[in-house]
Symmetry: C2
Subunit: 248 residues, 2 copies
């Protein structure tokens, strides 16, 4: 279990002297979405005697922002090897209004850079760090009150995730290796939060040329056995890199 | 013509004491694309006795990042009322490697937040500021060497602009009020940098329900007069806000 190593003797020293280790005025927040059993969740931390928040932290003087995001996520939740995508910087000078922690360094205005990811949440094991009393998944529709503008950050990440379905494939590592078209559709519906037309979905999906239809069919159901598919790994990776073919 | 008002007595004082006015370690860079006569251009500044660069600047202590981006663009190029969209923060600690300006404040590492816009470039009149000797449009395929990672920032903006065609309508304020389908297709082709299939484009475009076909036709050409279209302003605005219908 990864515990956050504070490079300071006390919390007060960290609040006063953080600028020796971290860049001033800059933070990173991570929005980790989890998919499992047709539900979309988001990973939140609860500060000891405090509110719920996104897992976040600060940028070391010699780190790239991407490195910071990965380190912060690991230190604060134990999650490792997650592909994080930067999506937006939040810079309203009033975003922490009236709620800033005291301290020469940490009491200043912070612009935060948001990262997000989508993971299969039964395969990751979040753990709270020393600053937090809890670290757990919440249904995206049932998120409690969050600190600062963290709800807005989460909503922007969700909007970005939904839009990304237009441009990038999704499903690998979220679905079993072999899956049916209804399983794939359910994944898209869960992310989008709305039902989709079955025929249109199948047509669009097949037109992307990312799927290989297998000879075997799913067995055991009451209805006619549906086809099984798997992703064409090469085409899938290539579409992740370059984006899906522009629709026009 | 908007000239940049430096709140300092000298350039040296600005380089040393900028932190009194601006946040440390943070900058903003603007990638302004221009469309005109079927060409895609980008607006660049040339530092006096220095390299070409994107119009950029710093964030005042009480400004939002959006406000900074708009102020910077106006101060550095004279452009006003441009709808700027934030797209990415660039934070490699080596991004200005070996090329930082000297000064206690400005000589530090800067993370820059990128904004972009697409405008009809015959309708804007860029003007260099006091720090620059030139401010002009360059064809995106003929951009000269740029300072730091500005070429990478420009390319990421271009990639974002291209992907945005999947999610958002484009054309209003770039085309005449009444236009033909080939004119609209040429706009898309110019942004994407590649030819598109005529039939498929028309089919996709019409399926978005953003166009109103007019009774009058374009006259004067050698061929059969093509239909004229205009945007349905209400649907266009709504699609700008919420994004185009997800393709699935």
């Amino acid at each position: 279990m990864a515990k956050r190593e504070l490079p300071f003797q006390s919390r007060q020293e960290f609040h006063e002297e953080g600028h020796r280790v971290f860049l001033p005025h800059l933070s990173v927040d991570c929005v980790i979405f989890g998919f499992h059993n047709d539900a979309l969740k988001v990973l939140l931390l609860k500060w000891k005697q405090g509110p719920w928040c996104l897992p976040g932290g600060f940028i070391k003087h010699r780190e790239s922002i991407d490195q910071s995001a990965n380190r912060i996520l690991k230190e604060r939740t134990g999650l490792d090897s997650i592909f994080l995508e930067q999506f937006y910087a939040f810079g309203d000078p009033a975003r922490e209004k009236g709620k800033r922690v005291k301290g020469a360094w940490i009491g200043k205005r912070f612009i935060t850079i948001g990262y997000y990811a989508l993971v299969e949440y039964s395969q990751v094991f979040p753990q709270p760090d020393l600053l937090s009393s809890e670290c757990r998944w919440w249904d995206v529709d049932e998120v409690p009150e969050l600190i600062y503008d963290h709800k807005e950050i989460m909503n922007k990440a969700l909007y970005t995730l939904r839009l990304s379905l237009n441009d990038h494939p999704v499903g690998y590592n979220l679905l079993p290796e072999k899956f049916t078209m209804p399983q794939l559709q359910k994944l898209y519906e869960t992310i989008l939060g709305e039902p989709l037309d079955r025929r249109n979905f199948q047509k669009q999906m097949l037109s992307l040329n990312l799927l290989i239809r297998l000879k075997e069919r799913k067995t055991g159901g009451a209805h006619k056995a549906p086809f099984l598919y798997k992703f064409d790994k090469k085409r899938y990776s290539s579409a992740l890199q370059t984006g899906l073919r522009i629709s026009f």
